[in-house]
């Protein structure tokens, strides 16, 4: 009996092994076959890759009011702009990576000479220049009658450069330059034939005017209960948001802080349907007498210099869309960027923030700008550029007052807002000694006492306990996820937790 069972087991194992080996062989052969069948993509021959995708979108304002020669059509201008900006782009890449890739398409042979020699010199000296150009104001001076030659004066281009030698930062500079360009239309490409810097380099003026904060902020960070970190996704429901805003307003709060995910909104090509949803949220906030802090660039963490023009495009579109809305209160440039200091480099992140603050403030001169630092230590960064300072606090409440007063001392002339604070009431398998709902209520009561004593403007985290947390927020670890789920004033069943009574007052 046992022998036959053994036999059967042996038989089954053999069959299973046989089948899996066969499958593996078939899979292997098919993989080899597929590999051999794929040649070079014929598309590559046309090297039109660079034409298809958007790599470089600095702010560009054309002046075609004084064109000598042929009248310029919109189509011609579009083609010129595309090739002109690609020329800038390939040059930035060339100086960053010390490569010649793509240059030939956008510069004629004689124009390339100096560029290539510069790159060669930089390669030899281990120099890498990460640069971008942010504002272009080209005017077309001349367009030949046969449409083959054009002269452009690009005034006051703001050029940002970060120069590295052996990977260490040598110099960071933002210059303002004015160049004249001669471009020729050669086999379908507008190629740069001559470049002439026609004015001495000026230093960029990054001065912006300060905007004051107009109200005492008593707020809350908001995500709908069913779509945390995906507020503008498919589950977008105006009714739910309206109800939530009503709860928030009735609870005695006057401000909400919401988040715009960079990729979700379409990066540089901001999706109109997302903007529509954003407008709906602002309208509902207005209806419920709430002011809105919009946090930009959520889930973005690259900061690459060559990405800047695309980031700016993204911000420009969103800000221009919202800046006149009465419910808008402030722009939070980025949530907790100091967490990227280590992985991306502090100077890289700060440079990005600096230019972004400048960008946002030039587009919208009315609304204040802040950065949501994750702790008090980082909050002094760029304190002169933001209109009010905000920081997040998840540490021991006993230290809050001291930390806040210290910060006040360091930044005496600006409003300091506590942009996030809260306590998770999770106690379960993953954290048996976690805080109870009573602990959470105590925490909020205590916080409100401190806040009212020190007049701390606050934005708490958050209205709801969430049912699911995307992995981008706290990673995959279950104890972190579970903890993050229970920060709300209202539990997963929709009932108010004990802490709710301390949502806006002690």
């Amino acid at each position: 009996m046992t022998l036959s069972i053994h036999k059967n087991i042996l038989k089954t194992t053999l069959i299973v092994i046989y089948i899996s080996v066969t499958l593996l062989v078939i899979f292997g052969l098919s993989a080899v076959f597929t590999y051999l069948n794929t040649g070079a993509d014929r598309n590559l021959m046309l090297h039109n890759k660079i034409h298809e995708t958007v790599h470089y979108q600095p702010k560009i304002t054309w002046d075609i009011s004084h064109v000598e020669g042929r009248e310029i059509t919109q189509t011609a201008l579009q083609n010129i702009e595309k090739d002109y900006l690609n020329a800038w782009y390939v040059k930035q890449v060339a100086f960053e990576k010390n490569t010649q890739k793509g240059l030939k398409d956008y510069y004629t042979k004689s124009a390339l000479e100096t560029i290539l020699k510069s790159i060669k010199a930089n390669t030899d000296n281990h120099i890498s220049i990460k640069g971008t150009s942010l504002d272009h104001h080209p005017s077309i001076d001349f367009f030949s009658e046969d449409g083959q030659l054009i002269v452009i004066t690009d005034e006051n281009i703001k050029e940002y450069k970060r120069i590295y030698k052996n990977e260490t930062l040598l110099l960071e500079t933002t210059e303002v330059n004015t160049y004249q360009f001669l471009l020729l239309l050669e086999d379908g490409f507008w190629r740069i034939r001559q470049i002439l810097k026609i004015e001495p380099t000026k230093k960029a003026d990054l001065q912006t005017t300060a905007t004051s904060v107009s109200q005492q902020i008593k707020g809350i960070n908001y995500y709908p209960q069913d779509s945390p970190w995906d507020m503008f996704g498919n589950d977008f429901d105006k009714k739910v948001i309206n109800q939530d805003f009503n709860i928030i307003q009735k609870a005695g709060l006057n401000t909400i802080r919401i988040f715009i995910q960079y990729e979700d909104f379409g990066k540089s090509e901001v999706k109109p349907e997302k903007l529509e949803k954003l407008t709906s949220v602002l309208n509902l906030a207005q209806k419920n007498h709430l002011k809105v802090i919009i946090t930009l660039f959520d889930f973005y963490g690259d900061y690459q210099v060559l990405d800047w023009t695309l980031n700016n495009q993204h911000a420009t579109k969103i800000i221009n869309h919202c800046k006149e809305h009465p419910a808008l209160f402030a722009w939070d440039i980025k949530n907790e960027p100091n967490l990227d200091f280590e992985s991306r480099g502090k100077e890289k992140v700060l440079a990005w923030l600096k230019q972004m603050i400048y960008r946002v403030k030039t587009i919208d001169k009315k609304h204040p700008v802040t950065i949501g630092w994750s702790n008090t230590k980082s909050a002094t960064n760029l304190k002169d550029m933001v209109d009010f300072v905000s920081f997040h606090y998840y540490e021991n409440l006993d230290q809050l007052e001291k930390a806040y007063l210290q910060l006040k001392k360091e930044i005496p002339n600006k409003e300091i807002v506590l942009g996030e604070y809260g306590l998770s009431s999770y106690r379960g398998i993953w954290n048996p000694f976690g805080n109870s709902e009573e602990n959470q209520a105590e925490y909020h009561q205590k916080f409100q006492e401190i806040a009212s004593k020190n007049k701390i403007p606050f934005v708490s985290w958050t209205l709801y306990d969430f049912k699911k947390i995307p992995k981008e927020v706290v990673g995959q670890l279950p104890w972190r996820k579970y903890n993050q789920k229970h920060f709300g004033f209202i539990n997963q069943a929709g009932e108010r937790k004990a802490s709710f009574q301390y949502i806006s007052k002690p």
Binding site: G69, S110, I115, S118, G131, L149, V151, Q194, L196
Partner: protein, 399 residues
């Protein structure tokens, strides 16, 4: 004594404030100069104040580099590499690290020597008249491929037939340009330019005649018989544009012939010296042709009418019972001579009103001989119809 102390303190503060203003840490450019000429050796010399020797960031119209200096006991020297100092325009330099506030700009002028003149002339051909024009763009380049200095005079010379013109244009820093207007006389315009004693190549601008105007046609033929053999030649008058220029050689003219039956025939010709000729073989019967010529989209000719007389007046048919051959002919032409080979003769064979065969044959030596033995069976009646030169004949046979 008190004054002296005050003085020292004041000096100290002045020194301090100027230090704060420049914050150049005592390092200073020793040979400041605001202008250079392309190709000049450029060395920026600084006094050496400590052992820390910063690199220099340097940028011009085309690129950015870092210059590593050489230093001796007293001086730090930054030598701008040739490929940078050869390009005209504003140049910018800035020291790095803690000396980053020390910076400056200077201008590099193009040289006063022309190595080549780039000329762009387009479009390459324009139409005669008063409206059309081409544009000449001239870019004189110096020894290092820089555009010459602003306001350098550029001389443009233009010759069309017997007129000669000279203009001086100011160079605008990138280009000098001129509109070359057309002329009422077609021909070739020669253009050249000159700058600082260097001359360009010769450029030509073709001034092509404008659209052709209406014209006349005429014909030439050896006789007026429709013998299907001779050729009638059609030709146009000299076709000209509205400025009296003969149209370009190779202009295509379509001759359209409408015959008696309202059928259109077409023949083509292209012009040489304004005249286009075309040919058409005579009809093989009596006919009247109405002929008109066109240049598509532009112009047309007068209408001419030609008549052709019958060359073949009659012919015989003879069926040879033994060989079962049908002999058609002899065909005689207008002087009773044997008709030249090639007249089309059509035979239709009917069996009880049903056509069983149709044969086309061309005449040879005045005859067309049809071999019918494969189609005809014994003791049967057939009807044969013959058509040639629009003459119909009929014959009934039985073997």
């Amino acid at each position: 004594m008190k004054n002296f102390v005050l003085h020292i303190i004041a000096t100290f503060f002045i020194a301090l404030s100027s230090y704060a203003q420049n914050s150049n840490l005592g390092m200073k450019l020793q040979n400041a100069k605001e202008e250079f000429v392309a190709g000049n050796k450029i060395k920026l010399v600084f006094n050496k104040i400590s052992d820390s020797i910063p690199d220099m960031y340097y940028s011009n119209s085309y690129g950015n580099i870092i210059i590593t200096p050489t230093a001796n006991k007293k001086q730090i020297v930054y030598e701008v590499p040739e490929f940078m100092s050869q390009k005209s325009g504003w140049n910018h330099w800035q020291l790095t690290q803690k000396y980053k506030n020390i910076k400056g700009d200077f201008y590099i002028h193009p040289t006063q020597n022309i190595s080549k003149i780039e000329t762009y002339l387009g479009p390459p051909s324009i139409e005669v008249g008063d409206k059309d024009y081409a544009m000449l763009v001239v870019i004189p380049l110096d020894d290092y491929n820089n555009p010459v200095a602003k306001n350098t005079p550029v001389l443009i010379q233009k010759k069309h037939l017997n007129t000669f013109e000279q203009n001086t244009l100011p160079f605008n820093g990138m280009i000098a340009h001129k509109i070359i207007y057309t002329n009422r006389k077609a021909g070739r315009t020669f253009i050249s330019s000159e700058c600082l004693n260097e001359t360009s190549k010769e450029y030509t601008l073709e001034i092509v005649p404008a659209g052709p105007t209406n014209f006349n046609i005429d014909f030439e033929r050896v006789h007026d018989y429709g013998d299907g053999n001779q050729i009638t030649k059609f030709y146009t008058s000299i076709i000209k544009d509205r400025y009296d220029n003969v149209v370009a050689d190779g202009t295509s003219v379509t001759f359209r012939i409408e015959n008696n039956k309202g059928i259109y025939l077409q023949t083509f010709g292209t012009t040489i010296n304004g005249v286009a000729t075309a040919q058409m073989v005579h009809p093989d019967h009596e006919d009247t042709w109405n002929i008109k010529a066109f240049i598509d989209g532009f112009s047309e000719s007068n209408l001419i009418t030609l008549t052709y007389k019958n060359a073949v007046k009659n012919f015989n048919i003879d069926f040879k019972n033994d060989e079962k051959h049908l002999v058609v002919g002899p065909f005689k032409s207008f002087m009773n001579q044997t008709l030249p080979d090639g007249l089309m003769v059509t035979l239709e064979l009917f069996d009880d009103n049903e056509q069983i065969q149709k044969i086309n044959l061309q005449t040879e030596n005045g005859f067309a001989i049809f071999d019918l033995h494969t189609f005809i069976k014994k003791d049967k009646k057939y009807i044969i119809k013959i058509n040639a030169a629009q003459i119909n004949k009929q014959l009934e046979i039985k073997i």
